[in-house]
Amino acid sequence: MTRGRTSKFPKKSAKNPLGQITEPGEIQKRNKDKYDKNKVRNDARKAAARAIVLDEIAQKKAIEDGKGALFDGMTMEQFLRSDLGDSQVSQIQEEESHKPMQGQLLDGNSSFYEFMKHIDQDFLELDPDGLECVNDEDKMGGLRFELNMDILSIWEKQLVEEKSLQTTKQILVALKNRIVQATGQPSYGAPDLSCMHPIHLSNVSI
């Protein structure tokens, strides 16, 4: 027996005394999370951030579906700037509570429903969603008015004195509409507009 160990294949630790203890770089990276000192703290932070994001997504979904609460999507500044006062809030809350009550009336006691019909028909017919009346004319925009000689004289004056481009546009729009109206008639040739009664032409709306 010889002293010391002799072998054909020298151990790696002979060259690198710390080789058995230290791991190669790849393994170190893989096990980084295992040995990370701040692992617990980082995990907690990640979980909290995820929860916040999920909460926001759920809120947005609720607002889109119309099921959100009254002040969803509103910051404090927006709320303070808005006209939603206490009276309006209570009105909205009353309207929201009206529908389930109406449903209960219909589902539950039909005799009471019949009684309410006689007493207060408006209560039964109230539809909070239909309270806003939208003016169709406002949607289209613009004014509708009858073209007559007075308006034409005003336009002529503006064109001659001020050379207004805006007035020119108005005149051309009126002209285009009138021409389209005239040429759109069942044609037996060109309609002789000059012989039309002035009253009919004065009732043209733009």
Partner: protein, 167 residues
């Protein structure tokens, strides 16, 4: 002496229909307004609108609308007088619209159709004098319109005019 003329003008205006008055205002004043806001500039011996003017963006839609209405009226002329006014007044705006090729083609073909119309014959086979006079004026106005295009337009516009004349 002036008072009776003034009264005649008022009476004439009252008798005119709203549409006729609207046509008169549109066709008499629009060229003046456009020329006031965007005066023509002589470049290389040709009259052109300056392309760098800021008002050009405002005036282009006005011109397009004006000439589209003109096109509709030329295809369905309400009266010979109106046709004459349209041709004489729109000729002043030709330098502004030489860039709108499609519109120019349509206008040139409509105006050449008007120029090539024959006189209206009465039941006796003879042309009625007022009609023939008016038709001559209209033909002359149409010819001058096309001539203006040939003078102001570039080579492609000249080709379009010549092709339309021949076909």
């Amino acid at each position: 002496m002036e008072r009776p003329i003034y009264l005649v003008c008022i009476l004439f205006t009252c008798l005119m229909s709203v549409f006729d008055h609207l046509l008169q205002i549109a066709f008499q004043n629009t060229p003046e307004v456009v020329q006031y806001h965007l005066p023509l500039v002589k470049k290389d011996g040709k009259l052109q609108a300056s392309p760098q003017e800021a008002k050009l963006a405002q005036i282009i839609p006005i011109l397009k609308s004006f000439f589209r209405s003109t096109l509709l009226l030329l295809r369905n002329p309400p009266s010979p007088n109106t046709t004459l006014i349209i041709l004489s007044q729109t000729e002043k705006l030709i330098p502004y619209i030489t860039g709108f090729r499609k519109l120019m083609k349509q206008l040139i073909s409509s105006i050449l159709d008007i120029w090539s119309q024959t006189d209206d014959f009465g039941p006796d086979g003879e042309t009625s004098k007022p009609n023939s006079e008016m038709q001559k004026h209209i033909k002359m106005a149409a010819f001058l319109w096309v001539k203006r295009v040939m003078l102001v337009g570039d080579r492609s516009l000249k080709q379009i005019c010549l092709k339309a004349c021949i076909s």
